[in-house]
Structure formats: C-alpha cells, structure tokens
C-alpha cells in the first residue's frame, strides 16, 4: 500500500475494482458517471467501501457514496483524507 495514495491512484483503483465487480470488461468507466448510473446496489456499495477501507486504512461509511456520487469526487475526497 502506498503511504498516501494520490487522487489519480484512487481513481484508477476504483475504475479497476468496479470494472471487475460489475463485470464490464473492455468498457471504460467514466469517472464522472454516478455510482447510481453504474447500477451499484447497496450490497456492492458496501463492498466497495469495505475494500477502500482495507486499502487506505481508513474507517468509512457507505453514505460516502451518496455524498460523493462519482469516482472523481470520491477520489478527491479520499485523497484529501489520506493526506491528513
């Protein structure tokens, strides 16, 4: 795990994770598309948060995906938190 993952690193990680779990090989995920638009249900939202917690070593809540509803906004927010 990098010490303080950059915004870009978090973005890439989210794209990779969602491409894999949503089974969207070969299709690009737009970082400005909302998680709702990707069809993320509550279980998959929780799993995304849990994986991010693991990777970043932060305690997060699933509500985060409502407050920061795109990969772009989420990555910006998380990068700010990890660099604290």
């Amino acid at each position: 795990m990098p010490e303080h993952p950059s915004e870009a690193a978090i973005r890439d990680w989210c794209i990779q994770y969602l491409t894999r779990t949503l089974d969207l090989p070969g299709k690009t995920i737009d970082t400005e598309m909302t998680f709702a638009r990707m069809g993320l249900d509550s279980a998959n939202s929780v799993f995304l948060i849990v994986e991010l917690e693991d990777w970043l070593g932060l305690e997060l809540t699933p509500d985060l995906l409502f407050e920061y509803p795109t990969i772009g906004e989420l990555a910006r927010q998380l990068a700010a938190r990890t660099s604290l």
Partner: protein, 582 residues
C-alpha cells in the same frame, strides 16, 4: 401412496409439552426463566449492547398489547417497520398478545419508488403502523408522509409503558399470528397467513431437526422481516428457551467476521444465513482480525433461503477449520414462507450430503451420472422431510406422484403448511389446495420448486417452475423488473423483455435482462445510454446490480402463440448465445 415420503406425526411439543399458542411459549419462558437473557442486540461498531430478559420482554410486550387493545380490535393488522434492534421483537409479541396480526415489513428505501410497501398496505389494510419514535422523528420523517393515505395509527414501542397491562384473552391455536409477505410481485404481493398452530408446528419441527435446547444460543444478522431471520433464528431461540444475539444486517455486510467473533464470544451453537453469507465470510477472511477465535462451539450452520452451493461449503470449511469449525456443522436446509418456514433439513451433526450428476441430463430434468468430467455438477442435499410432514415429488403436468430418483415438483403437507394467502382465494386454491390426479387429500402445498428424493431420502433441489429470481436470499419477481426496464427509456418496448437469474462462475445467482428495442432505434452510441438507464433504474427500484443486459431486435423475444413471455426459453437462448442481439 407408496411413492410419497411420509414421516410419523410428531408426538408432542418441546420436552413432551404442547403449547396452545406462541404466547403460551413466551409466558412459560417468562415464568420459568424470568431473569435469563432472551434477546441481546449488538449495535454496529462501538454501540453498547441492549438486552431483554424473558420477563422484561413479556412485560414490554404487555405494554404494547395494552396500547393496541385501546386503539383497535382483535384481528386488526399492524405493519411492523423497525430499524435493527429489539423493538421489532417487542412489537411482534405485543401484537400476538393483543390478537393483532403482525405484518413484518422492510422499511422502504428512501430513493426507491417501486417497492412492495404501498401494495402490502393496500392488500392487508392495517390499522396500525409500529416503529420507534426516533425513526420517524429523526432518520426517516418521510415514512409518515409516504403512508399518509393509508390512515395509519402510529404506535411507537419506545413510548408504550402502561404500568398496569390489561387482562387479555390468550390467543388460540387457530388465531392468525402474522402475515409473511415474501411472495407475489411488487404490484400484487401475497401475504402468507401463518396461524399460531402453524408457527408452533414448524418451531417444533425446526427444534427437532436442529437439535436445539436451552443451551443453543443463536447469533443472527438476518433481518427480522425476513422469514429466516424471524422464524429460524429469533423465534426458534425463544421456542427452545435459548438466548438470541442479534446483529445489524448492514453491519454484517460490512464486517462479516464480526458475526464469527460474536459466535465465539457468546459460545453460540446456532447461526445461519443464506449461502452468500458464508461466501462473504470467506471473501473477507483476514487472519489478523480473528486470530484468537474458537468456533468449536458452533454446532448448526443453517444454509438456506437461496440455493446451497457445494463450492461455498468447501471454501468455508477450508478457511475456518483452523478456527475449530467442524464440517459437520453445515446444515443445508430448504423451506419457504408458505410452509411457515422449514420444509427439509437433516438432524444435527449429519453434515451436508452431495451428489455428482450430469449437467446435461439435469437440463432435461433427468438425473444421471456425468458423461465426462466437464458434464459433472455437484448438488447439495437439503436434508430429509421433517417429522410430521408429508413430502412428495409430483409430475407438474400429470399431477401424479413420482418415485425416488425422478425430478418433479416438490409438494408438502402438514400442520406447518400455512392457511393460505391473505384475502386471495384464487391464489390460495392454486397453491395450497393441490391433490394428486389419482385422488386423495387436496391439502398439498405446491412449492413451485423442482427436485428429487434420493434413495437415502435426501431431498435435492434442481430448479424452479415458478418465475423467481433469488439474489442474496431475497426473492424478486421478473415481471417487476421487466416493468422497471420498460419504464426507464422510450426506446424499450412494453411486454418486450425478460428478466431471469443465471448462476455466475462461483454459482451465485445473477440478474440478466433481455430487452427488445423499438425498430426506429439505431446506433451504438444510444445503446450505451440505454444500458446505463436500465442499470440505474434496476439498482434504484430493486436494489440489484444487473450482471448483463442484452438488447435484442423487435419481435425476437421468445413468446408463446398467445403472447406470453417465455422466460425460460429466453434464458436458454441467452446461455446458448442464440439471441438476436443488436
């Protein structure tokens, strides 16, 4: 009737004593084990545990019953809308004491418009809605507004504190205890009518099959509005006189290992859930988080509410055996709300039986040995028929019973088979009043599931006749999903889609949507837009992530000559890759 499997009727209730109602069970616990813990709720993360002894539960339920009796009559319905915690249990027993019919419901999600709650309220017309004051006041003020038209009398369990409860006439065995709305589509939900007699009968069957005693502490995270969470976990513990430790469902999804840590901490014997729960524990296994736990206390790990997978059992055992988990603890089971809950299970400690069969033969509803290794599929047995139950495998076309080893529809009869669907005589007659074409009693429940009984009397489930999609233990009806799809984009044709479930590589059921697009629609660019709209709508309305969306040409969806959508044929074409994709 030599081909149907019959069991001896059960002699007597727990410990040789018969109960006249579930209130009788509660009362005896409150008298005989007054100060013993009945329920303990562990809030997520740092919250303090809350608990109720049997006597405290009885006392609080009496206060609730007094409030209900003042505001209504015996036979009125009460919608139970509770966040995770012990208030649901208090409300449930309050209803039973007052003779008010409890209707457990999932709290509708904030964003979701198309959920069953409005239709459930319209179907059972409850006088009361029960919840906690803080839910309505703080976290979900939208609920009171959402249900305004139903003119509900709101009862807040945290404000029911009558000092001198009224004397209430105890319920009788034939009184309705609750309605379980797990069947029927969102627009036409069906409430299974469960009487005290049904509940006592199935509770006793469960107790015998699982070998539960007062020492059988339960740990459960399954929601209480789900029949498995309510009957197999919460009510079974009280029936056996054992404590039940409850965890919040969302906490489990986030931290499944907390479930295992709690099992160890409380030295629990019984803890179960749908198959995905065990899979999730394996996926989230982090040795450092559970390094000191000892799971040797765990005797019954019921796996039910969705298909039980051999791979999951294998992975779970391999992962958790080092923590003292015994493979014989796995307890695959089969059941449904129409039979109160449990239909088949083995006795405690028997472990899971598996059978390797030909996948190709299975697709033709035949049982055979695999022709080559790739043709092999492992089925997990769901145990045997329960004490006091009749179980038959019946040809769904001829309605004649079939012998061992033949695949047919599973039919069940016995005192646990519910009274029918609430105010729905047609559906009740079709599902609960079946009889063999060759004659005999017309008291069989048609499960809509396909299976066979092996020579050793083990029941194997092989498929479904009914159109139903089960995702993470929750039933979804294809009609509802198809409607959502066709509402979400103008290019999608009405009555031109099919939704169905297909197992993924790990065997977990995934949602597939096949949908016709209008002729005037052209273009790759818009296809991405349509697919995204469908994904978004299904997640919003049904809380499911679609695995794959296939857009097809107008008029190419398989239908019968009378225009009925052929979902199973569509599924077959999807798997064979023979749909006319655009």
């Amino acid at each position: 009737m030599k081909t149907a499997i019959s069991e001896q009727p059960s002699a007597d209730a727990a410990g040789g004593r018969a109960y006249s109602s579930f209130i009788d069970v509660l009362r005896r616990r409150a008298v005989e084990h007054a100060a013993d813990p009945a329920y303990i709720f562990l809030p997520d993360r740092a919250g303090e545990p809350v608990s109720l002894t049997f006597a405290e539960l009885y006392g609080r339920a009496q206060s609730v019953a007094a409030r209900l009796s003042r505001g209504g009559h015996k036979g009125d319905r009460a919608a139970l809308l509770f966040p995770p915690g012990l208030d649901f249990i208090v409300a449930f027993f309050g209803c039973l004491l007052a003779g008010v019919i409890a209707v457990p419901m999932m709290i509708p999600r904030r964003a979701g418009a198309r959920d069953a709650s409005a239709a459930i309220l319209a179907d059972c017309r409850p006088r009361f809605a029960m919840t906690r004051r803080d839910l309505i006041a703080a976290s979900r003020p939208d609920l009171a507004e959402r249900f305004r038209d139903a003119a509900l009398d709101w009862v807040f369990t945290d404000e029911c504190d009558a000092a001198s409860p009224q004397a209430l006439r105890p319920p009788s065995a034939d009184d309705i205890a609750f309605l379980q709305y797990t069947s029927g589509s969102t627009s036409a939900p069906k409430g299974v009518v469960v009487s005290h007699r049904n509940l006592i009968a199935n509770s006793e069957m469960i107790r015998m099959a699982l070998g539960n005693t007062r020492r059988s502490t339960h740990v459960s995270w399954v929601p209480l509005y789900h029949d498995m969470g309510l009957i197999l976990n919460a009510l079974q513990a009280l029936y056996a006189g054992a404590p039940c430790v409850l965890l919040a469902p969302v906490g489990f999804m986030q931290r499944p290992l907390a479930w295992l840590r709690t099992i160890d901490k409380y030295r629990a014997e019984v803890a179960g859930g749908p198959n995905f729960a065990f899979e999730l524990c394996v996926a989230r296994h982090r040795p450092e988080e559970i390094k000191d736990i000892d799971l040797s206390c765990w005797k019954v790990a019921v796996n039910g509410a969705e298909p039980v997978r051999a791979g999951t059992i294998e992975r779970f055992v391999t992962t958790f055996a080092p923590y003292g988990f015994d493979a014989k603890t796995f307890h695959p089971a089969y059941g449904m709300a129409e039979a109160t809950l449990l239909i088949s299970a083995n006795s405690r400690g028997a472990g899971a039986s598996t059978r390797r069969v030909s996948r190709a033969a299975l697709h033709r509803n035949r049982i055979g040995d695999p022709l080559q290794p790739e043709d092999g599929q492992v089925l997990v047995g769901c145990g045997r028929a329960l004490q006091g139950e009749r179980l038959a495998i019946v040809d769904p076309e001829t309605l004649l019973p079939l012998g061992p080893g033949s695949i047919g529809e599973i039919w069940v009869a016995g005192p646990h088979v519910a009274c029918g669907y609430w105010c729905n005589p047609e559906a009740t007659e079709a599902v609960f009043g079946a009889g063999f074409a060759s004659g005999g009693a017309r008291d069989w429940l048609r499960t809509g599931d396909l299976g066979f009984v092996a020579d050793d009397r083990e029941l194997y489930i092989t498929g479904r006749i009914k159109d139903l999609i089960i995702i993470r233990g929750i039933n979804h009806y294809p009609q509802d999903i198809e409607e959502t799809v066709q509402d979400c984009h103008p290019a999608l044709r009405r009555h031109g889609g099919a939704a169905f479930g297909v197992p993924d590589r790990s065997g977990e059921e995934q949602l597939i949507v096949v949908q016709e697009v209008v002729r005037t629609f052209r273009g790759e660019a818009d296809a991405g837009e349509i697919v995204a709209s469908i994904r978004e709508a299904i997640a919003r309305e049904h809380d499911i992530t679609v695995r794959e969306i296939v857009l097809i040409r107008t008029g190419s969806l398989p239908k019968t000559t009378s225009g009925k959508i052929q979902r199973r044929l569509t599924r077959h074409h999807f798997l064979a890759g023979t749909l006319s994709r655009i």
